[in-house]
Symmetry: C2
Subunit: 506 residues, 2 copies
């Protein structure tokens, strides 16, 4: 028998083996021969390759690799809040009585599920592409508005030649079609959830695939449809995001871009009119015509003679955050500057500098400093089933691009400039009646990008007691409200547990 | 020469041709032979296949395919607002004087770009996968929180066997690593933006790829990193979304789930105390203990003797939406019911029914009917460079799942229940001082999912003039404010043009 013949049989044998093994998918031109040899290796007995032992790095090592500020930010079943020498830890459910807790947990879970349903959470598991699929397709970024139609870019079929090509696309939240003008014998299911293309003409197939469209058929704000692309045993899946854009809410700074058309000052006062008046006077020294919004929940309404002050009265003692929320609800400029009623403007209180930072960065909020106190803190969240663990650390994450003297962080002092529209989106929770600060930045997690620029400084009025007896009486009453009672602290812990779905904090 | 040998040479020749043609990428096992034959067809002269002419459907046909309510919702360079017999059309830039317009356009464009930058818009073009890539990878859904680390699922290499496998991963906003415990000679660039794996051991390669991790290195709220996966000439790219979850703001309905712990009623009044009082009395007939928040910008503050009414006074004539925004800023329950001060509760005003709808659906807002008037309208947006085109149509999109008597739409009458937190996110623009309604629903586009349930009905007080001379005087003053002056209309058109970045409407 001639050698060639035997070699030929040997080659065919390899091919049969390969087919038998069903080793699917290699790029052809580049690697037919190696593939054949590899299959040979599989087919015929050969020395096992010196496989090295497969093991993972020890957990200790991983902790070092993936920790930030000593917190291991790596997916785990359960997060923990371990106290250490720097800070203690709170277990928020302790705010409830043991007897109430089971019922509270049930309510909290129900409310959390309603929230998740409306936010489209939890998100579906990642979509995995298999190797060597004969399709070209858009892995990411195809987006359509509700009830609109979009072309699906990048669809290709590069499978083997065949007498007939059959490619099927399937959607679930919308319908499919093609702009190609071809008979129904070639394209079936136009305007339906399943579109099937059958043709012997490869060029035609390519043309039809290049012009496939997706049409959203229901009015939905944000959903992800998974479209599948099939031919024979190969299946590719890709996402089509149905999304209604959020309509802009822009503010016109006016032809001269005056500061008064860009910034409004907002404050809340309670039982200390003298401090408010001193603050207002200090504003007028530097900013004669900026609008100032004052929310007051004192007993007696004040008489404020200033055309640029808007004064609002509230039910007595309605509270700190209720007043702050009222004040920001009335702002009609792009930015709002928050100040406490006992602050004092001085020549270093440069609002323009804070405006410049917000105009040139993606920050939503930028804080200054109160007599050198910047009160910067970072909030790090770890998610887990029974609620997230929150870690608060002083300091900042990183310098702010373009502003070497500013930083990116999570929370700042009570003197900050904010995008009005973003600030209103988070708001100040009126349930927080008394001392509250970091609560606002926690509510802003994921919504407000916060920065801090210590170079912009505001003063603070002296804390020495007043002489005037009437004012002294007011300050006395004030202090009784100002102090954080145990009940109020409990209430705040309970809010973090229920409202923010937090488990604990360090 | 023996036939086999010649057949073998012929087969080898084909292979050479195939390799020569560099026809890349077919799934192997399933189709080696057909591929060979097809390549043969390419190699040897053969009759051209009868290709049918490649053409697209005529535009007229496409318009019919992809229109909704007569609006062609298909990507185009420029959208239009054509008036027809049903409705006229507004060109919003007409609200500005010709001389001002050029400067206005410049300001509007600058503000729009700032908005887009902060929202991460416009989104990058779709990421297209090439056919027959030898990789398995996650096409969609890999998400990491800022500064956290996640494993990247589904990474595989199914390329041809080779003496050495070299696979390189590259990120841009974060760093890569692998949990596999392997020497630096095998994995280079741990904890850097580029990770390179080189090994002769296929099993080891698989193991390392199964344990690759992505670490976010900067604090960002929402960005998409594109990670590439390369080996020889093959490149796959997939998105990793860096996202900080928005922290929940849940409300505790309390152990007995009383309506007063779920719903607050909010209203705004101006110069018609008698109507307000009648409305409040009608509320108490049916809901004795629900909290009612009243915002008043009249001249004289009212005396309201009702422990469950919270009364807020504003600067005189501050305006309609300012008052509405103030009222909702004070709500501390999960839901808020909006009513006008001249409505009248009756036995068909069943708040519980509206609560049930919001509890069981994904709606943010659900309207009822005012004496049978549901005022349902749909808003359809078409985006284009110079601003979007807005089409307002009466009616609704679709029935509401689970509530056959309710529908999904874009806008409803001034009697609706809303998720407080969502409503505050959109707010009522205090710049709208007088008659305004659909403006709110336009601001809510993309944020508020709106429904309508006509079965829940509220009454309206009679419009017949009052007898009491003082009240009559008030009503007279009131009507002067109530009427929509030409200037106010102009102002609203200008707001749509600048604030909402709209171009025109039908």
């Amino acid at each position: 028998m001639c050698p060639n013949s035997s070699r030929f049989l040997w080659l065919l044998k390899i091919l049969v083996i390969i087919l038998g093994l069903g080793v699917a998918g290699f790029t052809f031109g580049s690697m037919f021969l190696p593939a054949a040899f590899s299959s040979l290796k599989l087919a015929l007995p050969s020395p096992a390759p010196d496989v090295q032992k497969l093991k993972l790095l020890p957990e200790e090592h991983l902790r070092n690799l993936f920790s930030y500020d000593g917190i291991w930010l790596f997916p785990k079943n359960q997060c923990k809040c371990e106290a250490n020498k720097e800070q203690g830890s709170y277990n928020f459910q302790d705010a409830y009585g043991q007897s109430d807790l089971p019922a509270v947990k049930v309510r909290r879970q129900a409310e959390f599920e309603h929230f998740q349903r409306r936010e489209g959470l939890p998100r579906p598991l990642p979509l995995l592409a298999q190797p060597n699929l004969p399709f070209g397709y858009p892995v990411h970024g195809v987006e359509v508005m509700p009830l609109h139609t979009v072309p699906i870019p990048g669809l290709q079929f590069e499978g083997p030649d065949a007498p007939i090509y059959k490619v099927t696309l399937t959607a679930s939240l919308g319908t499919l079609n093609t702009l190609a003008d071809v008979p129904d014998s070639v394209v079936q299911g136009r305007g339906q959830k399943q579109l099937t293309i059958s043709t012997s003409d490869r060029k035609l197939l390519k043309f039809i695939l290049q012009h496939v469209t997706y049409t959203s058929t229901g009015y939905q704000h944000q959903k992800v449809d998974v479209v599948s692309l099939e031919s024979r045993s190969s299946v590719a899946k890709f996402p089509v995001t149905i999304r209604h854009p959020v309509i802009p809410k822009l503010y016109d700074p006016g032809p001269e871009r005056k500061l008064r058309n860009l910034v409004t000052i907002a404050t809340k006062t309670f039982l200390r009119p003298h401090k408010l008046m001193i603050m207002l006077r200090s504003i007028r020294e530097y900013y004669p015509d900026l609008t100032v919004i004052v929310a007051d929940d004192s007993k007696k309404p004040l008489e404020i003679k200033d055309n640029h002050v808007e004064y609002y009265t509230m039910p007595f003692g309605k509270g700190w955050f209720a007043g702050r929320n009222l004040a920001i609800s009335q702002v009609t400029t792009k930015y709002v500057l928050w100040v406490d009623d006992d602050f004092l403007f001085n020549k270093e209180t440069k609002i323009e500098v804070l405006v410049d930072v917000l105009e040139k960065t993606e920050l939503d909020v930028v804080g200054g400093s109160v007599l050198g106190n910047v009160f910067q803190f970072k909030l790090l969240l770890e998610q887990s089933e029974n609620g997230a663990c929150l870690h608060k650390r002083t300091g900042f994450f990183q310098p702010l691009d373009g502003f070497p003297n500013c930083v990116v962080t999570s929370g700042v002092v009570n003197f900050f400039l904010a995008h009005t529209e973003r600030l209103q989106r988070v708001g100040f929770d009126p349930r927080l009646q008394r001392v509250a600060h970091s609560e606002f930045f926690i509510d802003g997690l994921g919504t407000l990008l916060v920065g801090s620029c210590p170079e912009v400084i505001i003063g603070h009025q002296s804390r020495s007691p007043v002489v005037d007896s009437e004012l002294a009486a007011l300050e006395k009453t004030y202090s009784t409200y100002r102090s954080n009672t145990l009940a109020q602290v409990q209430f705040k812990l309970a809010l973090h547990y229920f409202k923010n779905h937090l488990q604990c904090a360090t």
